[in-house]
């Protein structure tokens, strides 16, 4: 395509490209290899591979990953920089680790609720719990199901 000849202005053909003649045409003798070994004795017993997604993510459309910043949840096995698997489709119940909206931020806490009270608890004695009442409406963003922690 590096050579081209401009054609006459009046012609409907703008340029003419020379045909490429340098290509070769190799012809394969066999399209696929022939297996000459013994069949594996395990062939009939092959199982599928394990997929971690299947284990960690029950509802893909509702599952999000979030990264933890801070150490207020170390008592629950959730450390700074861990990744949480969060399932929004689950109903939060007493004891759930939840992502709650606190002061306009996503915050990870343990939800503790009974008939009379509702609390977002930290899992680290250095951090206070947050009492939920009528004046601080509670918005739960999702329920954390697994923590992915690098060792």
């Amino acid at each position: 395509m590096n050579k081209r000849w401009p054609a006459k202005k009046t012609s409907s053909i703008k340029e003419i490209f020379p045909a490429a003649c340098g290509t070769s045409l190799p012809r394969p003798l066999f399209l696929s290899g022939v297996s000459a070994g013994f069949p594996s004795p395990a062939d009939d017993y092959l199982d599928r591979k394990l997929d971690l997604n299947e284990h960690l993510v029950k509802n893909p459309a509702a599952t999000f990953f979030v990264r933890v910043a801070g150490d207020s949840m170390t008592g629950a096995g959730i450390n700074d920089n861990d990744i949480l698997v969060v399932d929004r489709s689950l109903e939060p119940c007493n004891g759930s680790i939840v992502i709650a909206v606190v002061n306009g931020e996503l915050t990870v806490k343990r939800l503790l609720k009974n008939k009379n009270s509702c609390r977002l608890a930290a899992e680290n004695p250095d951090y206070p719990d947050l009492e939920i009442d009528e004046e601080t409406p509670l918005e739960i963003w999702g329920v954390a199901t697994y923590a992915i922690h690098s060792l």
Partner: protein, 428 residues
């Protein structure tokens, strides 16, 4: 019965999903290049910020009311859209994904005794699972479902759900719908109809069939029938085959050198090649176009396009870049400030139906190379491997000053959940 599920202010809602602090703040999203406003939260609409208006014109208003502004973040919107559609498909067997933020569903007759209740359940489930608020319109036809959806959105009392039942008298309702707001009536048709004193959906519905067919062809007649409650447009569950692929964009700043244009055209050609492969397609015709900014009347204007027909269908990035760059070189003229360039692929054929050539062997190596590149980019992120012709600095690249993180598609950009209390909190 048909239903239309439409995400409310979709792009703005996506931006809010990981930013609860924006729940009550007005939010707008800008087009590619940060040029125009293409999505507004309800609060932003209430401020009078118009759809499609240039960003710079609204800047004073935006500053005054502390509006949160975002560049468009298509990886995020695409992912959230898929989640919304997945939730719908789990609950409804017949779903047609109509656009990034809309889906039609078909409800079998008699399946749901209480349609409104079912719609409420759908809406609540999508909202809970994906965090995206939706509006739902249910009606005997798709066209009416679109209208019902409008009512669901516009009437605060509807709370996002509006049902038109079979045989319900509709005339008073259709009289309030402008002809231009009917699904399937484009701007040109609506202007022409208005000249003939047809202003509302009711008036269109009552036109005689023969007249409709003559004026608007069979498509218009179908729309009128649908307004009468007779379903004529069915659910399309398989996407129609693509006829062409276009990748083009305006530049962040005007470009004048051939080098910058080459980088841009090579980038678009490789994006187009990727789209081809993703769709299992190959192209035979490659069009390249460049043009200056026609709004700048005082600058010299130039635009040109060139078509190249490939000897055989291809989806090979290097091949497409090569022909695109050859075309670009032929149409490039120095001395202009170029505003836009693009690559348009036509004559698409499915990979599986390729005609083998007489004088050239098929090249499986090229296909496996492309597959390897796509796999790597899929695993490690876009442009992990890209063609050097596409450049590294990409100074011509469009502006995206206010882009939010790719929260759901990049490990390095996951949303943060705080595990510490903000200081303003008192000890309980």
């Amino acid at each position: 019965m048909f239903g239309l599920i439409d995400c409310n202010n979709f792009y703005a809602s996506c931006e809010r999903l990981f930013r609860p602090d924006l729940a009550r703040r007005p939010v707008v999203v800008l087009s590619n290049n940060d040029g125009c406003i293409i999505a507004r939260s309800n609060e932003a609409k209430a401020l009078g910020i118009g759809m499609g208006t240039p960003y710079f014109k609204q800047e004073p208003l935006i500053r005054k009311h502390d509006v949160a502004v975002f560049s468009s973040n298509y990886p995020l919107y695409g992912d959230i859209s898929q989640r919304v559609m997945d939730v719908l498909m789990r609950l409804e067997p017949d779903v047609e994904v109509y656009s990034i933020d809309e889906a039609f569903i078909r409800l079998p007759m008699g399946k749901h005794h209480d349609l409104k209740n079912w719609a409420r359940f759908l809406k609540a489930t999508v909202q809970k699972h994906t965090g995206i608020p939706v509006s739902i319109g249910l009606a005997p036809t798709k066209t009416l479902a679109k209208i019902a959806n409008r009512f669901a959105k516009k009437n605060p009392s509807a709370a996002g759900i509006f049902v038109i039942t079979e045989g319900q008298p509709l005339d008073s309702l259709l009289a309030t719908v402008d002809i231009g707001d009917i699904w399937g009536i484009g701007r040109r048709h609506s202007a022409r109809l208005k000249k003939q004193a047809i202003h509302t959906a009711l008036e269109l519905k009552n036109c005689p069939d023969a007249w409709l067919r003559k004026q608007l062809t069979v498509t218009g007649l179908r729309t009128a029938m649908e307004l009468r409650g007779i379903p004529c447009i069915s659910l399309e569950k398989t996407l129609p085959a693509r006829k062409s692929i276009c990748t083009s964009r305006s530049f962040g700043q005007p470009v004048h050198t051939l080098g910058d244009l080459q980088e841009a055209v090579a980038t678009y050609a490789s994006q187009a090649a990727y789209k081809l492969r993703r769709g299992g397609l190959r192209t035979t015709v490659v069009d390249v176009f460049i043009r200056t900014n026609s709004f700048k009347k005082d600058e010299p204007q130039y635009c040109s396009r060139r078509t190249f027909t490939l000897p055989a269908p291809s989806s090979h990035t290097a091949t497409l870049i090569k022909v695109a760059l050859a075309s670009l070189e032929a149409i490039y003229r120095p001395g202009y400030r170029y505003q836009k360039a693009g690559v348009l692929l036509n004559g698409l054929v499915p990979e599986s139906r390729e005609q083998l050539r007489l004088f050239q062997a098929p090249t499986p190596r090229a296909a496996s190379l492309m597959k390897a590149v796509d796999d790597i980019n899929k695993r490690w992120g876009r442009d992990t491997i890209c063609s050097a012709a596409a450049g590294l600095s990409r100074e011509w690249h469009f502006r995206q000053m206010k882009k939010s993180p790719a929260y759901t598609t990049r490990w390095s950009e996951l949303p943060i959940a705080k595990a510490s209390f903000p200081e303003s909190f008192s000890v309980a």
